[in-house]
Symmetry: none
Subunit: 116 residues, 2 copies
DNA sequence: ACCTATTTGTCCGTATGTATG
DNA sequence: CCATACATACGGACAAATAGG
């Protein structure tokens, strides 16, 4: 199943939709070049509002995961070059910045704690 | 004038609002710690919809320029491209990626530990 | 060149929920 | 408890880009 949302979940619907797509991409069930269902169609399938789906798609676009354009729809651009590698890159950037600012390891731990 | 929009412009209203705030910050007329008018108030002043202002505020938050929170409003956190704001932006990116990949908080702590 | 259908983009309005003070 | 303020979701309307006939 490409999408699925749980109306009872506390997580916002638009986030659930975005998460669904990310999961499919991560699992390789959605690959580069593939087209996502139109927002209208997805909304109909999930029985949620068109705008809610559009918001999810726009989030994915901001993350660089899909190419979303008027009149065309949404096409997967990246299969998330993923996992640990990407995570390590971000950690390296973060630590470098922390050093520059004078933040300690504990400061970062704290920040991440609250961010989660 | 803190905000101004031109209804005739082709630029989206929410972008015009965000741009206004950025300009004020850049010019030093809005400084760290200062509070922006509530979205409702700003919308009333500009004679545009509440959601349009909220969208602009949320964009600024994503950029790390303001701290926007429920029940509190919007407070300027920048200008400070290399300070805490920047750090927070990186943390946010990292955590978002971690979620995407399925990494836990402890995984991140561990990674940072070894990076330090 | 034109027309039409599809699809996203923006904006407005309304309602309800949740966090803050 | 109450007022304020943002968050989410739904709905409607129109605009603009795209694709296809």
């Amino acid at each position: 199943m490409l999408f699925s949302v749980d109306p009872a979940s506390s997580a916002p619907l638009h986030e659930q939709v975005a998460a669904s797509v990310r999961r499919e991409m991560g699992a390789g069930r959605l690959r580069r070049g593939e087209r996502l269902p139109s927002a209208k169609e997805a909304a109909s399938l999930l029985d949620i509002n068109l705008h809610t789906v559009l918001r999810a798609y726009q989030t994915l676009r901001d993350e660089g995961l899909i190419d979303l354009r008027r009149g065309r729809g949404a096409v997967v651009t990246a299969p998330d070059p993923t996992g640990q590698a990407r995570l390590h890159t971000l950690v390296a950037e973060l630590v470098a910045e922390a050093r520059r600012v004078g933040a300690t390891r504990d400061d970062l731990t704290q920040l991440i704690e609250s961010e989660f």
